[in-house]
């Protein structure tokens, strides 16, 4: 009887081992999570390297800076302090969100493992300090107070956080210095309004990074001024 039992166990284990072996001999392909979803920036809501959630670690990042100050700086000037291992690709959030929104985010981040010390007095104080031209609706004056100066628009929109233009800015996204030789005005206009409509070769992994909100942030005159300015960069 024991011999039969052993043979049965042998057949079962042998069959399982064969299937497992074959499945391990073929090429191994793991379906990774797209980079944008996980590793483009540190995870603020998990214990990163044993230092706690963002609310607990924000006060220890830079000597002499409180948690609140550090978080505001991270949103207002993201390239000032880049965590090792990550690219400086974060847009300037104070140009994208209103002061109220900025401080709501800071309060939330502080609540993740720390103490919330954002108060009503922070909001007007910050409102004076950050770009004031953010308007979410097409009826508003547009970025940079509605200025049609292309360079003011580029500064206010934070384009140079990722793009390089005339020797200034970062090289994370395509260099715009000669963008007019690659794209027509129509193509540039489309790209500004719908950044995912076409992706420059070699930058596929960064698809989705460029904000899709410029269509509502710029007024028509600003958009046209920006497009013509860039199209002239042959």
């Amino acid at each position: 009887m024991w011999a039969t039992n052993l043979k049965v166990v042998g057949v079962v284990l042998g069959t399982l081992a064969l299937y497992t072996l074959i499945a391990n001999k073929i090429p191994q392909v793991q379906s990774e999570v797209p980079q944008a979803l996980t590793t483009r920036a540190p995870n603020l809501l998990t214990d990163e390297k044993g230092t706690g959630l963002i609310g607990a670690r924000c006060g220890k990042r830079e000597p002499g800076k409180s948690c609140k100050q550090y978080l505001f700086e991270s949103l207002d000037n993201p390239t000032a302090y880049v965590v090792p291992g990550y690219q400086p690709i974060m847009p300037v959030m104070t140009k994208q969100l209103s002061p109220q929104q900025i401080w709501a985010v800071i309060a939330f981040l502080e609540s993740q493992g720390g103490t919330v010390d954002v108060s009503a007095s922070d909001i007007p104080a910050a409102g004076a300090g950050v770009a004031s031209g953010v308007s979410p609706g097409p009826a508003g004056p547009g970025l940079a107070g509605g200025s049609t100066d292309p360079q003011a628009i580029i500064q206010a929109a934070g384009c140079l956080v990722c793009h390089k233009l005339d020797g200034q800015g970062q090289v994370i996204a395509p260099d715009l210095t000669h963008v007019g030789s690659r794209r027509t005005a129509e193509s540039i206009r489309k790209k500004v309004l719908d950044p995912t409509s076409s992706i420059a070769k070699g930058y596929e992994k960064l698809a989705g990074i460029m904000p899709k909100t410029f269509g509502t942030m710029l007024n028509a005159a600003q958009l046209e001024a920006l497009v013509q300015y860039l199209a002239a960069h042959k």
Binding site: M1, T4, V8, V11, V12, T15, N24, V29
Partner: protein, 575 residues
Amino acid sequence: MPEALLLLQAAADTSHAYGEFPLIGARAAVWIAAEVHLMFAAFVLGVPMFAVVTEAIGIFGGDERYDRLSKEFTRLLLVAYSATAIWGTILVFFLATLYPKFFAYLLAVFAPSTWVYAGLFFVESFTLYLYYYGWDRWKKGRAKVGHWTLGILLNVWGTIVMFIANSWLTYMMTPPRDITPSTDPTTIKLWHAIANATWMPINVHRLIANVVFGGAIVGAYASYRFLAARTEDERAHYDWMGYVGNFIAMSALIVLPFAGYWLGREIYQYDQSMGITMMGGFMSWLWVIQAFLIAVLFLTGNYYLWIGMGRIPGAERFRPYTKWLLVILVLGAIVWGTPHTMIADSKELAAMGGSHHPFLGALGVMSAKNTAVNLMILTTFLSFLLYRRANTRPVVPWARTGTLIQGAMFAIAAGIVLFYGIRGYFVEAIVRIGFSVYQVLAVLACILCVTVIDLLMARGAQSLGAIRWGKMPPRSQYALFILAVTFTWLMGLMGFARSGIRQYWHVWQVMQDTSAYAATPALGYAAKMISLCVLIFLSLVAFVFWLGGLAEKSTFVAAAPGVSPGTRGAQHVGH
């Protein structure tokens, strides 16, 4: 402002969304609990189908052996139900503690269905108790038919329970398109979530697969009892039981690919990118493994039948044909296992001379594969037919004509399959997909018509001798074990395919998996997990079988006292 709210919502959703499990991690813990629960669930759904069919054969065919066989398996269900419930509870606790946000989301959508589910499980359990414990009390006449009705009810409850659970997992795969990440789950209408694109195809696919699985496990149980039998009568009984289990498993297996095609088509129609991930993306190698497993099933199932013909007087007439059947099966398996589109690195592409191998590319397309699998199904059906007719000689006056018609039907079906297979190379994909329907219909029509003719021809047929049940070499029984292990492993593999195509989504494009285990593992890791789950399941099933034999004797009855030595006192039925 809405963007900021969404930003805050997304951030809030990520905090405390996941728990951690020691040593093996949260994903592996849930994987094992879900897989083993599902295997037991398939067992307790498949075996009652098996039981109610065999009981009906016993009642309406007047053969008491089937009635006893049915009871023997219902007895095993009692313990298997407890195991199913225990693993289900483990799964719920794991989900609630390791994936709390996701679990809360599912409950928010499906809460009322979980109450119905629990209630039905209760009703199902008590129907089972009545069915089993009332077996000897309601044994004759109308009472027996009433008892059989209980068996049908048991299947009805079980099927509804499965349909409910299927709605949860198919919602994760194919949530209705109007549901987005910002949809409040409490506002989703229950029926809208249940009746999603893949719900019914999965229901049908699993229903058939459970019959296959039930038959295979019954076959494995019988083969073990055969090998452990001490008397000729006992060996004969379990040989017969193994044959019945295998017959049911293989018969249902033949129609399973058609249900699979339907499911695949629905997945493609719902989201083409999901279909491409499944068939041509990172899961492409999975189908090569699946083809290998199916080949093992077809070859082993046929091998068992061919060995079985050794115990049938008159079967030697058909023996010369088996080698040709083997040739068709092997060629079919090779074609079905031929890879076509799969992820390859630059070196591999250079070695192949392109994304498709110049020679294998022609055999790896669906035209060739559909042709291969349909011919394999026809071949297996022919094996059954030869087995069935082995010890009989038809006496009806039209026997020769009938056989010729049957042969012609096989030839026509094979011709249609080959014609559309070859024609598929010369037409566009959209036309080619339609051809598979004609191929399937030709095969099904052949199976149906040939069976009807065979039943009519068998009336009053001359017997060439009774089947010598029990006269089987032990290797035939090990073949049944291989079938059971392969069916179970295949179930785990297909479960991985179904679940894995969601990739890093808990609910496809609605709720994202942001845990440390969001990446979908490669096939090697999956295979280890599947083998582990199969091992856990089979060990527990062996324990269930052992428990079943511990308290009660088997149900076989010796032909007559004294006919075979050592059978005195063995005339018991059940307990």
